[in-house]
């Protein structure tokens, strides 16, 4: 058949197969009586029936595996009604006979089973207890199974088979592995750090192998990694989570978070937020696993946490570095010095693997494994660039929208539920009252009225919610997608229009929307809404309510962040008055400390001292004289005295704080170390160099041990000790300490930071001392300028920098210049105080 003829035949076929059958012409008519054409067309039409199914299917499935087979239904063993009933030994599931129960987990029950046919093979049989259509799961299983069955790796338990039980529940048969979960194995066998890392690398490489076959595990956790008696780790359940997951092709915006099978402790931010899951999600889980294996603890405390709390912790939280939890770790056998080095690297590796954003993590499980290897070989690791706060901050910025919306939805839902519950309960109570005593009738009527009001309130909140999100649905009016900002603006408008007569609801919603605006960085709007909410709160609840004080405190925090200190102070004073009237000493003390923080920022040290003193008294009254909270206040007061130059009280207060902290928390706690450092600086300022040296070197040693080299707190301690060494005349030691401190501070803070400026001032003094006078002077000048700008002229660090500069100028015989500088500083100080 030539092309032209085929075109003609196609046309005729089109006529003969389209339109209602009764209107179609006969083949002969359509072909205009041409006999060869009629033969062609009739032959082709004869294949019509076969053509219906021909090529309608996936060639790859039939090419790569046999057709799915259903449950054979064989076996006469007693039936179990559901997966929660344990199947008895001998019960038959597919081609397998149950031997015993192995485990009962979130997704189902696992049995040890044996093939009932000629192949004598022991398997782990997983019966899925998951409320999804079995059909969906099986469909996915058949789609995935060839790939999963092909995951042949010594450290991956193979998926052997799958099907459905008599009760139409899906089951999977997997290679049976006898072993212990990896975390228990490590602890029980007392494995060293190196041994643990070696095991971890094997796990990484198995995961990487699966990733190369485009299989993501999605649920990596210790209970899915068993270690055999021979010490071989085996990963279980590879790919199972995907088979059990809701169909990703369904619109994901509507799925409720948490519907995916996952383990929150090991779930990555994207998994929690129902965003696309990739191999990077497994890298994250490996990071959590490493955290657990190294520190003995989980990074976040999620037990009993609400979903929102989990989102907050996992998407925003900074877990403590593994090295800070590691002191409780039993397997440190090589001495603290070795451990210190280890901890710094491991912190970095875990941090990178657990990046909030997928692209901040290792690009693959293999890279993670290789970095561990580099660490084991003592090579520099690739992970030491990032920092916790950087990563967390980045994620928060990129996901503010999603998180803010999630927050508002959950917030609304909670509010609606609470109000609804209240209404129901109050109503029930009201009914009860009414039937019990006729005498209480009038009261019951009141309560019923109150219950009705609550119900109404709940209804208003939920209908408000519905309308708001209806408006945001792009399909509702065919318009383009609505931005979160628009939704919020509409919500704001609706609040003022629809809820004018509902002060309480209005207060609640204004406050919530204000928080969302704040999360989105729209501070002006956030402020307006929060202030509006406050007004409604006052109208609804009166003036002496804890809720009002809390709102005031939140607003004050926002104002503080906006830099409007006087407004912030005013709100804090209002809150303070409420707490005082309510007699809540704890909250009063907290509010006093907040006020003190604002006062310090405005350079009003004397007032801050007063506030801290009162907070201290309240804390003492509440908790007794030796409570850590009291020590906290003592410490704050001590530092405040120090920064304003009163060295006597500073020393006394810091010693008291140190004593309490040592007694309450032991000699190695971070609070103790902070107190040691501050006390050391006070003693240095008082000229008691020997004593100061003792405290400062103890503080540095402890910081290094707790945090590892390269931490900014370590750098601060190094700078403080360096300043002392300079005064002692030990320039070599000072130079060594300063070089390390500056490297860290520059890396962490970049430029324009007071801690860096302080260290640079000491560096200037050092350069001067070793004869590099010009260079030194440049550092002394610039750090003094920076500190004046950042901390103000009244600050102790600014004054120290000035003193160093003046000292250097005098040493160079430029007394007049030094005099001038001091005079200028004094007048700046006077001005600062008047502010």
């Amino acid at each position: 058949m030539n092309p032209d003829r085929w075109r003609g035949v196609k046309e005729i076929l089109g006529i003969l197969t389209s339109g209602p059958p009764e209107e179609r012409p006969s083949v002969a008519d359509a072909c205009g009586g041409d006999p060869t054409l009629i033969r062609d067309v009739e032959e082709l039409l004869a294949y019509g029936h076969e053509a219906e199914t021909f090529l309608e299917g996936n060639p790859w499935e039939s090419a790569s595996g046999e057709a799915p087979k259903g449950d054979d239904g064989a076996g006469v063993a007693p039936r179990a009604d559901g997966p929660n009933d344990t199947l008895p030994p001998g019960h038959r599931v597919g081609a397998y006979r149950i031997e015993r129960l192995l485990d009962r987990g979130g997704m189902g029950v696992v049995y040890l089973a044996r093939r009932a046919d000629d192949f004598d093979q022991r398997v782990a049989l997983k019966l899925v207890d998951f409320h999804l259509h079995t059909g969906d799961i099986l469909d996915r299983f058949y789609r995935e199974r060839q790939i999963l069955a092909d995951l042949e790796h010594p450290n991956i338990a193979r998926l052997l088979d799958g099907g459905s039980t008599d009760q139409a529940l899906p089951f999977f048969a997997m290679e049976f592995v006898e072993g212990q979960p990896i975390d228990r194995y490590c602890d029980d066998h007392g494995l060293s750090i190196e041994e643990r890392l070696g095991l971890f690398r094997q796990v990484c490489e198995a995961v990487h192998f699966a990733h190369q076959s485009l299989v993501v595990h999605r649920d990596i956790k210790p209970s899915n990694i068993l270690v055999t008696d021979e010490g071989v780790p085996k990963l279980l359940d590879f790919g199972i989570a995907k088979i059990l997951a809701p169909d990703p092709s369904l619109p994901s915006g509507t799925t409720m978070p948490g519907r995916r099978p996952m383990t929150p402790g090991y779930a990555s931010p994207e998994q929690l937020l129902d965003e696309p899951i990739t191999t990077a999600s497994d890298v994250y889980a490996l990071g959590v696993l490493l955290y657990r294996l190294m520190s003995g603890e989980a990074p976040y405390r999620l037990q009993g946490a609400s979903f929102l709390k989990m989102v907050e912790l996992i998407c925003h939280g900074e877990p403590p570095r593994p090295s800070t939890v590691v002191r409780r770790f039993p397997a440190v056998e090589d001495g603290p010095r070795r451990w210190r080095k280890l901890a710094g690297d491991i912190d970095g590796i875990v941090l990178k693997a657990m990046g909030k954003e997928p692209r901040q993590r290792y690009a693959s499980a293999l890279q993670l494994s290789e970095d561990v290897d580099r660490h084991l070989k003592g090579l520099p690791i690739a992970a030491r660039e990032g920092t916790w706060w950087y990563v967390a901050g980045k994620f928060a910025r990129r996901h503010t929208l999603a998180l803010a919306m999630l927050g508002v939805i959950v917030g609304f839902a909670v509010a609606a539920t609470v109000l609804w519950r209240q209404a129901v309960e109050e109503r029930g109570r009201a009914e009860l009252e009414r039937s019990r005593a006729e005498a209480a009738r009038s009261q019951a009527v009141d309560e019923r009225a109150e219950a009705d009001r609550s119900r109404l309130r709940a209804e208003r909140v939920s209908s408000f919610l519905e309308e708001l999100f209806e408006a945001a649905d792009p399909d509702a009016d065919g318009a383009a997608a609505v931005s979160a900002r628009e939704i919020l603006d509409r919500g704001r408008l609706k609040i003022s229009q629809d809820l004018a007569d509902q002060p309480e609801v209005r207060a609640e919603l204004s406050g919530t929307l204000g928080t969302v605006y704040n999360n989105l960085g729209l501070y002006a709007e956030a402020r307006e809404l929060k202030e509006e909410g406050l007004r409604w709160r006052k109208e609804a609840d009166g003036t002496d309510r804890p809720e009002l004080a809390i709102d005031l405190n939140n607003l004050a925090r926002l104002l503080y962040d906006l830099g409007d200190y006087s407004a912030s102070e005013q709100r804090l004073h209002e809150a303070l008055a409420i707490w005082r009237r309510l007699g809540d000493d704890g909250e009063t003390a907290t509010t006093l400390r907040n006020l003190a923080a604002v006062a310090i920022d405005r350079g009003r040290h004397a007032e801050a001292l007063e506030l801290h003193r009162e907070a201290l008294e309240l804390s003492r009254g509440l908790y007794g004289p030796d409570h850590p909270k009291v020590a906290e206040s003592l410490y704050n007061l001590g530092v405040l005295h120090f920064t304003s130059g009163s060295l006597d009280p500073a020393e006394r207060l810091l010693r008291q704080a140190l004593d309490i902290h040592v007694r309450a928390r032991g000699p190695e706690h971070t609070r103790v170390v902070s107190a040691l450092g501050s006390l050391g600086r006070v003693l240095h300022a008082r000229g008691r160099l020997d004593e100061a040296g003792d405290y400062l070197s103890r503080a540095l040693a402890q910081r290094r041990r707790l945090l590892g080299d390269g931490h900014p707190h370590v750098a601060r301690a190094e700078a403080s000790l360096a300043a002392l060494r300079l005064d002692e005349g030990d320039t070599d030691a000072a130079g060594e300490l300063l070089r390390r401190a500056l490297a860290t501070l520059r890396r962490v803070y970049g430029s324009d930071n007071w801690r860096l400026a302080d260290a640079e001032s000491v560096w200037g003094e050092y350069l001067n001392a070793v004869g590099r006078v010009d260079e030194g002077e440049r550092y002394l000048f610039s750090s003094y300028r920076d500190l004046t700008r950042i901390k103000g002229p009244n600050d102790v660090y600014t004054r120290s920098a000035l003193n160093r500069l003046v000292h250097a100028l005098e040493g160079a015989g430029r007394s007049a210049e030094a005099e001038e500088l001091q005079a200028a500083h004094r007048s700046a100080e006077e001005q600062g105080k008047g502010d």
Binding site: V9, E43, A51, F54, E56, W60, A63, L366
Partner: protein, 188 residues
């Protein structure tokens, strides 16, 4: 050593040496890669968007076609590549299995069974391949539509987007192509 990279290379070597099993293992990976690429390509807006092949696809393609580089200037070219590639993989696989069967390895699964194409009839990949070559000669566009629908698994909508023709046309061409192919296969 990354186990999988060597694993893929090893499989490719074994496949080149005539091991059917090796391709059987590689195939799901290749297909998935290609599907993902096709999905991305369909999602990408407008022309001028060039897509890089994944390493796996690239390597397999080099083995199959012996070309130096893989590159596409437009969507149509890309899909022509993917379709051709998927067809080659499947056909190669079938050919090797047939050869192996002739070699008489009794333990393997019934190969013709495994390579029957979907549908009620009993059509095999190699027959389809041959028939498709015939169709390409008289109606290349129609043959392309078959490749896209069947080997790549594109929907009618997707084929219409790729080829720039109406959905009705795609449906009509698809239907008549199947008739033609069946007659060609059974008639010969």
């Amino acid at each position: 050593m990354p186990p999988t990279k060597s694993e893929v290379t090893r499989l490719l070597d074994r496949w080149s040496a005539g091991d059917t099993d090796a391709l059987g293992r590689l195939m799901p990976l290749i297909v998935r890669d290609l599907r993902n690429m096709a999905g991305k390509q369909l999602a990408a807006e407008g022309p001028g968007h060039t897509l890089q092949p994944t390493a796996l696809v690239n390597e397999v393609y080099l083995r199959l076609a012996g070309r130096r580089t893989v590159q596409w200037d437009n969507r149509q070219q890309f899909f022509a590549f993917v379709a051709g590639m998927m067809r080659r993989v499947l056909v190669d696989h079938a050919r090797r299995q047939r050869a192996e069967k002739r070699g008489g390895d009794a333990v393997k699964m019934p190969l013709d069974e495994a390579f029957r194409l979907p549908g009620r009839g009993n059509v095999q990949v190699l027959d389809l391949d041959l028939a498709l070559r015939g169709l390409t000669e008289i109606d290349p566009r129609q043959a392309r539509i078959v490749e896209l629908r069947f080997f790549v698994g594109l929907s009618v909508e997707e084929v219409s987007a790729v080829e720039g023709i109406s959905r009705t046309t795609v449906k009509r061409e698809w239907h008549t192509a199947k008739l033609w192919l069946l007659r060609q296969i059974h008639g010969s």
